[in-house]
């Protein structure tokens, strides 16, 4: 920063410094997304007693790069009947928010790009924009399958967004702040001060809603390859499809990381307050955050390998008739506990 300041005007130096930091976040994230797709194929492969991709590079480690190169050289089809501008904006609206949400994400106690007080509100707002990508893609494609997939998907996403929002309100009540860093600091103490214990129903609901929000199995009727082919992105090919794909996987990692942050204490060491704490004091918080995120990221893959697809009416019933009532009740329980100063996880 000082170096840049010395030979550039102050405003420009600040902007370049910020851009450098953003690149430091986005590049590892893109690599993570690329290798998450490989991890998915490997994990599901092993669960089905196969080996998974193993041709490109040692153990198939070159596979994501090969996939990216292949997609880059594929033809991008613009259907004649499609609304061209909207057709091209839709993938951007899926990938953009999935990346931009990381702006306020605290990776460690001091490691955050923008330490803003409205952090969680910003993330909730950005993840809500994702539904526009889906619905615009479905409408602009001007294809029956795409429209059906988009409408199904949009109704499903907004339904689960309510349960998700209520679960986040529960976290806010317990933490008393919208700042993501403060939410983690409110869980300081030990494994049993993390919010997974007092907010356990909300943890389950938040994560399952996250799976439904990202249109992942077992909630993937929007894609439903056996009936509506690929849903809203049936007309997309080449890089336009790749951008959708990246957006979906970036969203999955984002949901996993947010769950780890709000319910599993983010960067906090799991050995806090025990005799093991000094032994593991050298491990940076980023590593703990990564491991906790990996747990949920793995669950995403495990779900896909395990559960058969839900029927649409079952999905809507789960969202509206099970999750929303439970979250409302649990918000009141947590709210009452906070007002009566019962919460022992606060000290």
């Amino acid at each position: 920063m000082e170096l840049l300041d010395s030979f550039l005007p102050h405003g420009l130096a600040t902007v370049i410094w910020i851009v450098l930091k953003i690149v430091l976040i986005v590049l590892p994230l893109m690599v993570l997304v690329a290798y998450y797709t490989l991890a998915e194929r490997k994990v599901i492969g092993f669960m089905q007693v196969r080996i998974g991709p193993n041709r490109v590079g040692p153990n198939g480690l070159g596979q994501p790069i090969a996939d990216a190169l292949k997609l880059m050289f594929k033809e991008i089809i613009l259907p004649t009947k499609a609304n061209k501008v909207l057709f091209l904006i839709a993938p951007l609206l899926t990938l953009g928010p999935a990346l931009a949400a990381w702006a306020v994400f605290p990776f460690d106690a001091e490691l955050v790009l923008a330490d803003v007080n409205a952090g969680l509100l910003y993330i909730l707002a950005l993840t809500s924009v994702g539904v526009y990508g889906v619905i615009i893609a479905g409408w602009a494609s001007n294809s029956k399958y795409a429209l059906l997939g988009a409408v199904r998907s949009a109704a499903q996403i907004v339904s689960y967004e309510i349960a998700m929002g209520f679960a986040i309100v529960g976290v806010l009540v317990a933490a008393g702040s919208l700042n993501l860093g403060d939410i983690v600091r409110a869980q300081d103490g030990s494994l049993f001060h993390w919010f997974w214990l007092p907010l356990f129903p909300l943890l389950v609901i938040y994560f399952i809603s996250g799976v439904a929000e990202t249109n992942r199995a077992p909630f993937d009727v929007a894609e439903g390859e056996s009936e509506i082919v690929a849903g809203f992105h049936v007309e997309y090919s080449g890089m336009t499809f790749a951008v959708f794909f990246l957006g979906e996987y970036a969203n999955m990692i984002l949901i996993s990381a947010l769950t780890a942050l709000m319910f599993l204490g983010g960067w906090l060491s799991p050995f806090q307050g025990t005799f093991l704490e000094p032994v593991f004091a050298w491990v940076p918080g980023l590593v703990w955050l990564f491991l906790k995120t990996a747990i949920f990221a793995f669950l995403f893959l495990w779900f896909r390998a395990t559960f058969p697809r839900y029927r649409y009416d079952q999905i809507m019933r789960l969202g509206w008739k099970v999750f929303i009532p439970i979250t409302i009740v649990w918000i009141m329980v947590v709210g009452l506990a906070v007002v009566l100063e019962l919460p022992w996880w606060f000290d």
Partner: protein, 118 residues
């Protein structure tokens, strides 16, 4: 205070630029061989018939309307949740009344069958 949000703004711009650049590279590197059959809407081997912008179930609209009500509710709950520790019992009771009204409406729509998908 507000300069805290500058990185957020730059991040949003960069996020969209990344997507645009990736698609731009696809356009530059990929081949372009347009063909009237290839570029027609996909329909399992059929010639596409009728308009693709077809009618769909009214219940999707219903879900969207209900979503707006509940999403607003969440927007109201956010500030309340942040300061609940300070406003204490009065704030809690006030929000209970508000949530109670919402729940009455929720039960009504449930009984009316607005949430049924046969």
């Amino acid at each position: 205070m507000l300069e805290n949000y500058l990185p957020v703004l730059i991040f949003i711009v960069i996020a969209f630029v990344i997507g645009a650049v990736m698609m731009g590279m696809g356009f530059m590197l990929g081949s372009r061989k347009p063909d009237s059959e290839k570029d027609s809407p996909y329909e399992c081997g059929f010639e596409a018939f009728e308009d693709a912008r077809m009618k769909f179930d009214v219940r999707y609209y219903l879900v969207a309307i209900l979503f707006i009500i509940f999403d607003l509710e969440i927007a109201f709950l956010f500030p309340w949740a942040v300061v609940l520790g300070e406003i204490g019992m009065v704030g809690f009771v006030a929000m209970s009344v508000f949530l109670g009204i919402l729940v009455v409406g929720f039960i009504y729509e449930w009984k009316k069958g607005a949430l049924e998908w046969e």
